[in-house]
């Protein structure tokens, strides 16, 4: 390639971080809402938390933590020009992300089976505090689930780009930014676990 190639990895990462900051505020607002509602309805939140499957929540935590590790290991592999290893790590992340969603769908499916879903007739018979609990549960885990799907799409592209050498040892800021997004999704789940699944 001739001439000057414009590239600003620092600016690229800064842009990503500024976006992530807006995501933090988005979920932060929901966390603040949760904390007020839990303060107002402690018994109902306790009871609502008991309805959730803590084991599935814990397993999904381990799945997401491990998927975060494999993303960061993929970056190390790319930095060392270990392409096959990087692809294996990224592939593992994608599989773990799908496992997370499958577990999540079983969990939500069980709730739906028990008549617990937004605007359901059964939910309307519960005390207001429990309605708020399940409202927040579906909103926050649902919004998080959408982020997992978005993250998987982004990392799928990253895997493609590693395979086609668009991401390589001297040029991997896209992978770093995709990884940053995935880690933030992981951090949000780190908070969701104790707030909902361990609330009982």
């Amino acid at each position: 390639m001739t001439g000057h190639v414009h590239r600003d990895d620092f600016g690229s990462r800064l842009g990503m971080w500024l976006f992530l900051v807006t995501e933090m505020v988005l979920f932060g607002g929901l966390f603040i809402g949760y904390s007020y509602m839990r303060y107002r309805y402690p018994a109902e939140f306790h009871h609502g938390g008991a309805e959730l499957n803590a084991t599935l929540g814990i397993i999904n935590t381990l799945v997401l933590l491990t998927s975060s590790l494999t993303v960061v290991l993929a970056i190390v592999a790319v930095q060392r020009a270990e392409k096959k290893r990087a692809m294996a790590f990224l592939g593992t992340t994608l599989v773990l992300g799908v496992v997370f969603l499958v577990i999540k769908s079983f969990e939500w499916g069980a709730k739906f089976h028990h008549g617990l879903y937004p605007n359901s007739a059964h939910l309307a018979t519960l005390p207001p505090g429990e309605q708020v609990f399940f409202g927040l549960y579906f909103t926050m885990t649902g919004l998080h689930g959408l982020h997992v799907i978005a993250g998987l799409s982004v990392l799928g592209v990253m895997l493609w780009w590693v395979a086609t050498d668009r991401i390589r040892a001297d040029r991997y800021v896209h992978l770093e930014n995709g990884g940053l997004y995935w880690h933030l999704v992981d951090v949000i789940w780190i908070f969701l676990l104790p707030l909902f699944y361990l609330a009982a």
Binding site: M1, H4, V5
Partner: protein, 103 residues
């Protein structure tokens, strides 16, 4: 950055700055241990569970931010951006609960 300098950085000292696989695997093990502690503490009663939530969870998040998200290896600007955001959220949290407390 030109292609030339990019290649120089790749083969030069840049590698020494990057952490290896081991660092991140250790952080992952720490995260698993902290998750185990959090789950254990949640069985000890409501007070212990809330304290676990307020201490262990931010610690786990901090480990992910600092190591996995490479904040440790970034300059001060990125850290300031994150801290200002967290500070803003904390102010909103404090304002809400000061309102609730004096209702």
């Amino acid at each position: 950055m030109t292609e030339h300098t990019a290649h120089t950085a790749d083969h030069g000292e840049a590698h020494a700055e990057h952490p290896g696989y081991g660092t991140f695997i250790k952080v992952w093990v720490a995260l698993l241990i902290l998750t185990g502690c959090l789950v254990g503490v949640s069985h000890l009663g409501q007070t212990a569970a809330v304290w676990g939530l307020l201490t262990l969870t931010p610690l786990k998040a901090a480990l992910v931010f600092y190591y996995f998200m490479h904040l440790k290896y970034e300059g001060p600007l990125f850290k300031i951006v994150v801290l200002v955001t967290l500070g803003t959220l904390l102010i909103f949290f404090a304002l809400l609960f000061s309102d609730v407390a004096f209702r």
